[in-house]
Symmetry: none
Subunit: 122 residues, 4 copies
């Protein structure tokens, strides 16, 4: 898994890790059931403290994206169970989109262009 961290960013490192994992799942780079690197391994690889990685994994677990297990490490969730909080997630997503759309509008990006960008990314 590719993980590039920006230590100067105002986005916390654990959040950046969380985002990278979510993107990797969406991309298919991480398949459902597949195991993630161990906390220690990822920490060493990224040159950060293991507690920071731990925090990211706990966040992902809480959001339902992964499951953690003392014996087998962390693994990508298998879909069901994630559906539970889907409606709350959808609302949060729409809230985020609202700002994105406003910014696009102000910067002269047409609806068509926006849809094109999304189509490319999806």
């Amino acid at each position: 898994m590719i993980l590039t961290l920006d230590f100067a960013s105002d986005i916390p490192i654990y959040q950046q890790i969380r985002n990278a994992v979510v993107r990797a799942i969406a991309d298919g780079q991480l398949q459902p059931g597949e195991r993630l690197p161990t906390v220690r391994a990822l920490a060493q690889e990224a040159g950060i403290n293991s507690m920071t990685v731990n925090k990211a994994y706990q966040l992902l677990k809480q959001e339902g994206y992964i499951t953690t297990d003392g014996r087998n490490g962390a693994a990508v969730g298998s879909g069901p169970g994630r559906a539970a909080a889907a409606s709350a997630r959808r609302q949060k997503l729409e809230e985020e989109l609202k700002l994105i759309v406003a910014e696009a509008k102000v910067n002269g990006i047409s609806l068509g262009e926006l849809e094109q960008m999304i189509g490319k990314l999806y």
Copy 2:
């Protein structure tokens, strides 16, 4: 300009102000060239520290959305100034969209649904 602040939110107050201004510009509530409330006026109206409002205005200026002038206060930037910063904003915007799209994908939201949400918001 309507400004509703959520003091319990994780989003800093100055960021909320910045977002509200961007949205107001996108909505057309704030027209290019139009003057914004003075720092002090907005601070008093919202019941917050004027340093916070100042920080929001500086951020908006740095992003190219507004211009400030010691004598006349702040005003919404008109065409050229905004266009200059637009390309940098476009790249950052695409970066943000990447995460949104990934989250939507993982949460089972189809491309069609996503486009529909955007169409409604635009």
Copy 3:
């Protein structure tokens, strides 16, 4: 005895086994004096390490729910043995109830609703 384990749960496997046995005794599925599966049999059936089952049995024995005998394996405790530990259990149970009731109260669940839930479960 039906034993469904959730390997993704935060509750340790040995605790899940312990809980399942207690529930089975409460339901009457396991009668006083009745023998439990051997450690090895249960371990193989559930696909887990026998050390884990052993730990669960030792916990149940310590709590006074079952008795173990090198020759005959484990069996559900009958009257007297269970009664001895009951008073200690009663106190611990009240402690657990205290938290449950507090959470119910804060979450707007009335006393009547709570009693109804218990009546249904008993």
Copy 4:
């Protein structure tokens, strides 16, 4: 706020703090809107690390019991917003009750006694 920690318990300290706060809210010892001790103050008073208190506060915040705010510290939530996850909470509560009821049954506690205990605690 009375806070007694059991360092020998297998319940994590941050969880014990979380439970104490929930109980204090239910008891009315902590009123909606009332401020909690600062992270540092509580840590020093209890003789533990501030990160542990921080973890407890974040858990309480995530569960909707309190709000945190860099300028004013942590405060008890004002009810609305907590109602959001009520149905999920209710289900979790029923799950916990299921085990409690089973244990009560096995230990010879009648339904009447159980209801009496709850009535006293509520």
